[in-house]
């Protein structure tokens, strides 16, 4: 009986323990198996600006980074804390106007304006949304969605902060590389920071609020206070994105409150994989350049967004990242028996 028996075996057979998501790593080969896809995404993102043809696409990438931050902020709040906040444009606007205003009126340098705008902007957003925090689900979403429109109206009707003209010029970054690597670095930092946060005990409490807020109340935890922490963290991300855009484009105007900044993160989130954090960032990095490519179609772009959304919701509700990672773990090899 010299016949050789062979059967198929999954690559991760040795390392995936029975309990979901726990790995038992025993060799460099196994570490590589887990690390390679993650590392290739990160390194790919970091060398992407170097290989892009020309300034135009580099600017598009930076804008995609902005959307990625907003998508991360949305994903964290919606799927890790259970607060559906579609006021991304409001965070953008507040962050942008604070940063731009400090530079335009007081001549502060970028090294000061961006941190101030991030911290103070997040504080303003959190305080303004504080009264709405007892609302749940779609009601909180509606209120937050309304804020950017409110801000636009106040600025235009009141003739404030340059009204429809906006504020310009705002000091830009010394060169495009600083801008691009600042935003891409922040995207990576935010992904890992939020992942870490969600693994901490307070992250578990966030998940508890998402799953069942009554049970969190019965556990002696003030859920409003915990939601405030979460909201402040999420608005920090959004306000940084706004402050970045102000300096990156050298201009601050009501366009910072545009609908796109509220809606596109949701699309990116659904496409990339709700609740995975890295997925929505990936989704934004795909959707934003795609939207630039389709600029020629004008308003038809919106139709395409809708098609993408419907296709993903219907056929891949788990999102791109979860799907790819599932397929990756299903890769098999032939082994001798």
């Amino acid at each position: 009986m010299e016949r050789e028996e062979r059967r198929k075996e999954r690559l991760d057979r040795g390392i995936k323990a029975r309990t979901e998501g726990l790995y038992a790593i025993a060799s460099w080969r196994e570490i590589t198996y887990l690390l390679a896809p993650r590392a290739s995404l990160i390194i790919g993102l970091l060398i992407l600006p170097l290989v892009l043809p020309g300034l135009y696409w580099q600017r598009v990438l930076a804008l995609a980074g902005v959307y990625a931050l907003l998508a991360l902020s949305f994903d964290f709040l919606a799927h890790r804390v259970g607060l559906v906040c579609i006021g991304g444009a409001f965070m953008m606007g507040i962050g942008g106007y604070i940063s731009g205003g400090l530079n335009y009126y007081f001549g502060l340098p970028i090294a000061l304006t961006i941190p101030i705008a991030t911290l103070a902007g997040a504080l303003i957003c959190t305080l303004l949304w504080l009264p709405c925090l007892p609302l749940r689900g779609v009601y909180f979403a509606i209120i937050t969605f309304m804020f950017p429109h409110l801000a636009t109206s106040i600025i235009i009707a009141g003739g404030l902060l340059g009204s429809t003209e906006g504020l310009s010029p705002i000091k830009g970054f010394p060169n495009i590389w600083v801008g691009i690597y600042l935003i891409l670095g922040l995207v990576l930092l935010t992904i890992f920071g939020l992942r870490r946060l969600c693994g901490e005990d307070i992250g578990v409490v966030f998940a508890g609020i998402k799953d069942n807020d009554q049970a969190v109340l019965a556990s002696g935890v003030n859920i409003t206070r915990v939601k405030i922490y979460a909201l402040y963290i999420a608005t920090l991300i959004g306000c940084f994105a706004g402050a970045f855009v102000a300096h990156f484009s050298g201009f601050v105007g009501v366009s910072l409150f545009a609908l796109d900044f509220s809606v596109m993160p949701i699309a990116a989130c659904i496409m990339g994989g709700p609740g995975t954090l890295a997925g929505p960032a990936l989704g934004a990095l795909i959707l934003a350049p795609l939207s630039e490519l389709l600029r020629g179609f004008g308003q038809l772009r919106v139709v395409l967004y809708c098609v993408i959304l419907v296709v993903f919701i219907l056929f891949k509700p788990e999102g791109l990242l979860s799907w790819v990672s599932r397929r990756y773990h299903q890769i098999e090899r032939w082994v001798k028996v």
Binding site: V204, A207, K210
Partner: protein, 254 residues
């Protein structure tokens, strides 16, 4: 006006109605520290509403609840839990996306649990697993590490109880922890209640399983349509005419 020194829970003239339905009508009782109070009554008699009004999840229309002379009525639920009055939910409310032991991180993170733990609270995961083992999650079978969504009802009821225990409560209000469990599951849970009782925890048990309840209860209150029908020792209560009528209906002479 005699003052009972050891009374831990004092309920005075509690009333609550939902629309036209009187869920609670002028309920009053005292509960001495360390005793087990059973609350029984047919479906819809206001048992769960009583729990909800004591723990702050429902605001009563009138009446007050005191815990060691602190007025609980009007306080938000998390403050009541923070004072040491913990509750379970009749319809279990686990955190389904979390592993079982991570479910307990939430109460262990609460200000009350942190006061007991002292300082930064130490390794909450280890404390959580110990607590789960105490309520009967077999550590050797890795049950504490299972996702709550994968647990059967018996474990979810225990998880509810463990969530209360994590707060080191002085009063535990169990809203039908035995319902939906098999006889053997109930039999394994009764010693747990008795152990808490020996530790000096005051317990209010809402229950339909009378035999198991009467084996642990010091006193029983019978509710029917929001009214307190009877109050007293378990065997006395079951002799009460009104109670028998509420449970079995009236005798009809044809």
């Amino acid at each position: 006006m005699e003052e009972q020194k050891e009374t831990i829970i004092k309920v005075r003239n509690l009333s609550k109605s939902f629309g036209g339905v009187k869920a609670l009508n002028n309920i009053s009782f005292d509960l001495p520290k360390g005793e087990v109070l059973g609350v029984i009554g047919p479906n819809g008699s206001g048992k769960t509403t009583l729990v909800n009004t004591i723990t702050g999840f429902v605001k009563p229309e009138s009446g007050e609840v005191f815990f060691k002379n602190i007025k609980l009525t009007g306080l938000p639920p998390y403050k009541i839990a923070d004072l040491g009055v913990a509750r379970t939910f009749q319809v279990v409310r686990p955190f389904l996306s979390l592993r079982s032991f991570k479910n307990l991180i939430v109460p262990l993170w609460s200000p009350r649990a942190r006061r007991f733990a002292g300082g930064r609270g130490g390794d909450r995961d280890a404390v959580a697993i110990d607590l789960l083992e105490e309520v009967g999650f077999e550590r050797d079978a890795y049950v504490p590490y299972k996702f709550a969504s994968a647990l059967p009802l018996g474990y979810l009821k225990r998880l509810e109880l463990a969530r209360c225990l994590a707060l080191r409560p002085e009063v535990i209000i169990c809203d039908e922890v035995f319902s939906g469990l098999s006889m053997s599951e109930i039999a394994s849970m009764v010693p747990l209640i008795e152990r808490l009782q020996r530790r000096g925890v005051t317990i209010i048990m809402i229950e339909h399983r009378l035999r198991e309840l009467f084996s642990v209860a010091d006193k029983v209150i019978v509710l029917n349509f929001g009214e307190k029908l009877a109050e007293g020792k378990p065997d006395q209560v079951m002799q009460d005419e009104k109670v028998i009528r509420a449970y079995l209906g009236e005798e009809i002479n044809l």
